[in-house]
């Protein structure tokens, strides 16, 4: 089996990131002694103790389809306009109305894109985020055929000149993108590593996007912090095309008038 590139962050990032990330939100909530199990609790995370297991929750009741998340993502990663790593779809519902559905990468626990890569250029990091090593990717686009959500983007053109020419692209912060390779949303791990919130979340004026952690069972949209499992349960959260067995790490809270079976 191929040896994977070094994908760990700072030596002991857990505590620092935990504090940093949730310090940006309002007062934390009491977590201890509630006795509610998280909806999904990966065994890997349990074995590793306090490691993060990132999830995203998108509240479709709040999303107004403005596309600020997409723009912020493109600015953050210096992407051209047709690279919508988080893409906002307008979905018509049965009553003739419509709702908006932002689609980042779902960071699937059983990721179809990951298995089909011939050179193991795409991998899941210890915190459940699917990354791409663009130094290794050969550009066969098999992962794009395999992804059921169309979350992967191929760099057909030479990316624009980087704003930070001295930055060396990494799987965590692949900026600038490399022509002839595949890129995608990676939950802004370069920002969460520094205790910051993902760019799309920060840009969302409706506070519809939450970043959360399955291990601590907590999530925040930058303004309020919620108990993740209860938030998902109380709001009948669902995962998109869950029946494919991909185990997406992105939860949706249904928009108004939307069927719960997505």
């Amino acid at each position: 089996m191929a040896d994977l590139p070094d994908r760990t962050g700072p030596s002991d990032p857990t505590r620092r990131r935990l504090l940093g990330l949730f310090a940006t939100s309002s007062a934390g909530i009491a977590l201890a002694g509630t006795g509610l199990a998280p909806i999904a609790f990966p065994e890997a995370a349990a074995a590793q103790g306090k490691q993060r297991q990132w999830v995203m929750v998108i509240d479709l009741r709040k999303c107004d389809g403005c596309g600020d998340c997409t723009t912020a993502c493109q600015t953050e990663h210096e992407l051209p306009k047709n690279f919508e790593w988080i893409k906002v779809f307008e979905v018509k519902d049965e009553r003739g109305g419509s709702y908006f559905m932002p689609r980042p990468c779902f960071q699937c626990e059983n990721a179809p894109c990951l298995r089909v890569c011939p050179v193991a250029a795409t991998f899941r990091d210890d915190e459940g985020v699917v990354l791409v090593d663009q130094e290794r990717c050969i550009g066969c686009r098999m992962c794009m055929a395999a992804c059921p959500y169309g979350a992967r983007y191929f760099n057909y053109v030479e990316p624009p000149a980087p704003k930070h020419p001295f930055h060396k692209p990494t799987p965590q912060f692949p900026v600038p993108q490399q022509q002839g390779t595949v890129g995608k949303c990676m939950f802004c791990v370069h920002r969460t590593d520094d205790g910051k919130l993902p760019a799309c979340l920060e840009a969302c004026g409706m506070e519809a996007i939450y970043i959360g952690d399955l291990v601590e069972d907590i999530a925040t949209n930058g303004n309020e912090t919620v108990r993740l499992s209860r938030f998902l349960k109380d709001n009948d959260a669902y995962r998109y095309k869950e029946d494919l067995g991909t185990g997406p790490r992105v939860y949706y809270i249904a928009g108004h008038g939307q069927h719960l079976d997505n």
């Binding site: 191929a2 979905v91 089909v116 050179v119 098999m142 983007y153 053109v157």
Partner: protein, 443 residues
């Protein structure tokens, strides 16, 4: 048996070697120009990147993947025809095997290049070996295609050894350098019984081996699609469907190649209407099997009409891809069955017509697998679009031209017919018992 006949087929088998009349050079010139333009288009793409193609974020596989499946498919037909006819000891095969095996190698060389043409970073192709992740269908492809390429080269070479000795003896004096090549390649063949035995055993083993190898390669190509979650691709019948499509298009290609080259090389006394009739029957049998598989696929999918499959099936049967589909189904599959299958006059012309329709139809069918499967809405609200650019078309045309070019060049240096097998069929010298199955029968 009778000396004049043997003299004739020895003469005809060696006739193209070193021959170069105006027609030959015209053909070489025209085909080379097409290939050269294809290479120019690829260099153009290499310098700029894949944006010069019609591929995009939604439809990220197109002509190149279609061509890969198509040309490798054609190659199986050549190899399988030759292998099956050998194993069943069909005596009428003798004048055909060389042509079929050479077609197999030429088409395979062309098809095997397409996955590399399709890569975003062809400079990193070796990563597939360095970091091979065995769970990836792309790795299966690389392993299967390269194994099959080696096998089909051996399968072309082994039966040619005695012929190379004949060429060495007949032409060695005329062409010094070529004589040396024949000498080296014929491995000191003199036709002793022990040499005969070794050769027959080798050919027998290769004929048996090449069939599962060919099946494996096209199955693996099918799994490239079938292991994804896309509704129209995620089908258990895909592998056998692809294998059948490959052999079907390959037999059609063999018909076309022998029809063209028998005129060019004066092989009409040996390759007769009878050969076209037999190959037509083979084509009809395969075509009917393919029709059955395809109905089985579309019926099971169309009856349930899952959300992920329904829009694509609708577009194929009634929507934007319907003209292509019905052209294929009627013109490229059903019509050829009647053309090739019904008795009557002009068997050669009808076989050729059927073969052309089948080949065009099978290319269209691959298009209908790849493009609607890609463009179909996976987030169920948006369709992708794809129209190829001149780069993709030029590379496709160049690749198609490369096959006859390679064949013409090859037969300028190597015997076009297997003299040794003709000898065997004509009983010129007593060949030792073949390593053939007990049920072997001739015609």
């Amino acid at each position: 048996m009778d000396a004049p006949t043997r003299a004739l087929y020895v003469e005809r088998a060696l006739w193209p070697i070193g021959r170069g009349d105006l027609r030959f050079w015209l053909a070489i010139g025209l085909l080379s120009a097409l290939v050269a333009f294809g290479i120019y288009a690829y260099v153009y793409q290499l310098q700029r990147g894949l944006w010069v193609t019609g591929l995009n974020q939604r439809v990220s596989w197109g002509f190149y993947i279609i061509n890969c499946v198509f040309f490798i498919g054609i190659s199986y037909g050549g190899a399988m025809t030759s292998a099956i006819l050998r194993l069943t000891n069909a005596r009428w095969r003798a004048p055909l095997t060389r042509l079929a095996e050479a077609t197999a190698v030429a088409a395979l060389l062309v098809g095997a290049v397409f996955p590399i043409i399709d890569l975003g970073r062809p400079d990193r192709f070796l990563n597939v070996l360095l970091y091979a992740q065995v769970g990836s269908p792309i790795v299966w492809d690389v392993v299967a295609i390269s194994t099959y390429l080696v096998a089909s080269l051996v399968f072309l070479y082994l039966p040619m050894i005695p012929d190379l000795a004949i060429a060495r003896d007949a032409l060695g004096a005329r062409a010094k350098l070529l004589g040396k090549v024949y000498s080296a390649l014929s491995l000191g063949w003199t036709g002793t019984p022990s040499q005969e035995r070794a050769l027959q055993r080798g050919i027998g083993i290769m004929a048996i081996l090449i069939i599962p190898l060919a099946v494996s390669v096209h199955s693996v190509l099918a799994w490239l699609f079938a292991v994804t979650t896309r509704g129209p691709w995620h089908s258990t019948i895909f592998a056998p469907l692809f294998v059948l499509a490959a052999v079907l298009s390959g037999v059609a290609a063999v018909i076309l190649v022998i029809a063209a080259l028998r005129r060019v090389y004066g092989l009409q006394p040996f390759i007769t209407a009878r050969h076209f009739r037999y190959l037509s029957y083979l084509l009809v049998a395969l075509g009917m099997a393919y029709l059955y598989f395809m109905i089985s696929e579309y019926l099971t999918e169309g009856y349930v009409l899952e959300q992920s499959t329904a829009p694509v099936l609708e577009s194929i049967f009634l929507g934007q891809y319907a003209p292509a589909f019905w052209t294929f189904a009627v013109g490229g599959l059903v019509l050829p069955l009647f053309l090739a299958g019904l008795p009557g006059r002009f068997p050669i012309a009808r076989a050729c017509m059927a073969a052309i329709l089948v080949i065009a139809g099978m290319w269209l069918k691959r298009f209908l697998i790849v493009v609607p499967g890609m463009a179909g809405p996976i987030m169920p609200w948006e369709w992708g679009r794809y129209s190829p650019t001149w780069v993709e078309i030029a590379i496709t045309v160049g690749a198609a031209a490369a096959i006859p070019l390679m064949l013409i060049v090859f037969f300028r240096f190597f015997p076009v017919m297997s003299v040794h097998e003709m000898d065997e069929v004509e009983g010129v010298h007593a060949a030792p018992p073949r390593m053939a199955p007990a049920f072997a029968g001739g015609d």
